[in-house]
Assembly symmetry: C2
């Protein structure tokens, strides 16, 4: 239940690898893919979506590649996860569309809201800097 997809796992591995590089260094997606054990074309797709959101910057052509879009300390794990998996929604009644009509009187609904908040808070509390430097964030 509630399992991160491979896309999400790959996304984290890939961007954490970038965060471990010296700031400003441009890295090839092929290098990241090999180092992290992620299928290259799949990782390329993931990085493209990161680029759209500004999480990473990209350069094309010879000498191109990827690097973080802002300092590792300013990127949270939540931002990374939500970039590829969408918002954290433990149950559909927490999304705008998924209203089941019972939300107001439902006694279960607040439980899911609480879980949503807890997960979000944990992921908000971890930055790429923490992950890259191996900080004991717990």
């Amino acid at each position: 239940m509630m399992e991160l997809t491979r896309k999400g796992e790959y996304a984290i591995r890939g961007i954490v690898y970038l965060a471990k590089q010296s700031p400003g260094k441009v890295i090839l997606v092929s290098e990241v893919a090999e180092a992290t054990g992620v299928p290259q074309t799949f990782l390329a797709k993931i990085f493209q979506s990161f680029a759209k959101l500004g999480l990473v910057n990209s350069f094309r052509g010879t000498g191109g590649g990827f690097l973080l879009g802002r300092p590792a300390a300013k990127i949270t794990l939540r931002q990374v996860v939500e970039a590829v998996e969408g918002p954290i929604i433990p149950n559909r009644c927490l999304s705008d569309e998924g209203n089941c009509g019972r939300t107001s009187e439902c006694t279960v609904h607040p439980v899911w809201r609480r879980i949503q908040e807890e997960i979000a808070a944990i992921l908000d509390g971890v930055t790429l800097e923490d992950l890259a430097k191996g900080k004991k964030s717990l």
Copy 2:
């Protein structure tokens, strides 16, 4: 991300409906299905798996139906969810098989473990009695 399936949602709705009945009363799956807005045959499957785990008791034939297998206060939301969705595994490295080989040195792994523990704790803290009686459990 991390969304409860419809099966899980239906399971909760169905068993909470049972928990709202006066103890000992036998209820038809057709009644539960109608009251909760769940497809009857699907709910029947769910209740069958509940029965195997002892979460509910069932009686066949005329006058048959379902009732809780033990007092509502002794059934947690976690037990219900895990009965139909399996264990709470936010990332595959938390399952026995899903070992990615980096678990020991990975800095992300502890984050998922923490999330797993938090979700489990929240769901452990809510019983069917709470849900049936509308207790403000948060």
